[in-house]
Amino acid sequence: MRFGFMLSEVTEGLRRNLAMVVSIILVTFISLTFVGTASLLQMQIGQMKNYWYDRAQVAIYLCTDVSPEATCPRGEAAEDVKLQVQERLDSPTLVPFIEKYYFEDHDQAFANFQEQFAGNAVAQYVKPEQLNETFWVNLYDPNQSPILTESFAGLAGVEEVKDQRSYLDQIFLILNIASLAAVSIAALMLVSSALLISTTIRLSAFSRRRELGIMRLVGASNFSIQLPFILEGVVAALIGSVLAGVTVLALIEFFVQGFLAESLPFTSFVGLSDGMLVVPLLIAVGIVLAAAASGLAIRRYLKI
């Protein structure tokens, strides 16, 4: 089949089913916008993980006089406990995992605390000796924090070994649930747009069943019978996915970069370059979905 002729068949089909074509465009547009948002959210989570996990440290809190009896029966950690911890951190078994560590005494902890909670009432009541003396440890691989936990958990004078990532994990859990929700909605919408595409194409085929009958009779190949219908679905879905791509980029430009990034200046956010990775994905998903749905829909008109 000649290209020009096929193009006129496709245009004819699109024109004849205009209302349905518009609904395909809208449904693919919305569903792919959800897909795009979900992927951006995943990218954002990845980016934040990289950023924060690199900064997350493992804290080895030493006992104070106000520590609970159960973990610190002897009260304030003595000088020999600090030496013991330091020795272990420098021992050949741990050295390969540790990038660096430093010790924070009561006064430094107090200074940090005052800075962190400046203006807060709690800052006035806390005293230096209530704050733990702490060994802050940076690991080469933050995933290996259990090694430290195991090495120091039982040591007398150590109140707790805490991986800061455990705080972050809660935040990421919430973000993950949000992106999972977006993905589920996107999946549902994609299913409905696939069904809509196949219904529309079936309708289009039905309104052209005379042509189809004649095409089969005179020996048009299955491919050339199918192609105009598949293209019809693909063209409609393509328009929808381009709209979704534009929306995702606009979301990044105006909402993420324009609003979020300015109100939360210390967090790194996804940018247009990340969006540029998502847009081809959306277009590819739109095209593949439409081609598969309309190809399947037209199949039963091809029985010889």
């Binding site: 089949m1 000649r2 005379r210 095409m215 005179v218 050339s224």
Partner: protein
């Protein structure tokens, strides 16, 4: 050209086969009438020749192809070498006469140049040289069937299958269609025509194959429709 051997065709839900051990040879350039009452198996036989159906048993060879084993993807290419017309013309109502004929060439990928030459030629051959721009609804039944014939032969098929082509036409118009079919046959195209019409068969003096209850009961050179019953 067409060789049918021991063909039996059963349809689901009916105990009696539509075709029962039918064998038939049709040579190049033949003009064959398939006659018989409704339900005698004429249409089933035509469907097998067009590979719209495959037999339950037996073999069908058309134009050197074994239609029983022909894979589905090769069927379109086989059909390009055949022309078909039906009782109900099957024209596209929103396309002109020329566009109707051109459509069948466009969908098999013929070039615009070829189409622009072949369509007026074939319309002149069927006597519609002046009516290329008309819509089917503006034509008489006979003229519509001529358009269908033009569409069937524009690609120069070796075989023309005609399933009751005069079924919807009055006797005078039918005569015109028959003489056109004869002209096409004289040009070397094998014509197989299923019909009910006694007058036409008697007049043409061509080979007659009569079917009854799915069996061939008569195969006569230069025969008539048969005994009046």
């Amino acid at each position: 050209m067409i060789s049918i051997q021991n063909v039996t065709k059963k349809y689901k839900g009916t105990p009696r086969p539509a075709l029962d051990q039918v064998s038939l040879e049709i040579e190049k350039g033949d003009f064959v009438f398939l006659v018989g009452a409704s339900g005698s198996g004429k249409s089933s036989l035509m469907r097998l020749m067009l590979r719209e159906d495959v037999p339950s048993s037996g073999s069908v060879h058309v134009l050197g192809e074994n239609l029983v084993g022909l894979p589905a993807r090769k069927v379109p290419f086989f059909r390009r070498r055949l022309g078909v017309v039906f009782q109900d013309f099957r024209l596209l109502p929103n396309k002109t006469v020329s566009q109707n004929v051109a459509f069948s060439l466009q969908v098999i990928g013929k070039s615009e140049g070829f189409i622009q030459e072949a369509v007026p030629d074939v319309l002149r051959l069927v006597g519609l040289g002046e009516k290329g721009d008309r819509l089917p609804s503006e034509l008489s039944g006979g003229e519509q069937q001529r358009v269908a014939l033009a569409r069937a032969i524009v690609n120069k098929p070796a075989i023309l299958l005609a399933d009751e082509p005069t079924g919807n036409l009055d006797p005078t118009t039918s005569e015109g269609i028959m003489s056109l079919l004869n002209t096409i046959n004289l040009g070397g195209t094998t014509v197989v025509m299923a019909t009910h019409e006694r007058g036409i068969v008697d007049q043409m003096k061509k080979r007659v194959v009569e079917l009854s209850h799915g069996q061939i009961v008569r195969d006569q050179v230069a025969g008539g429709y048969g005994v009046r019953d």
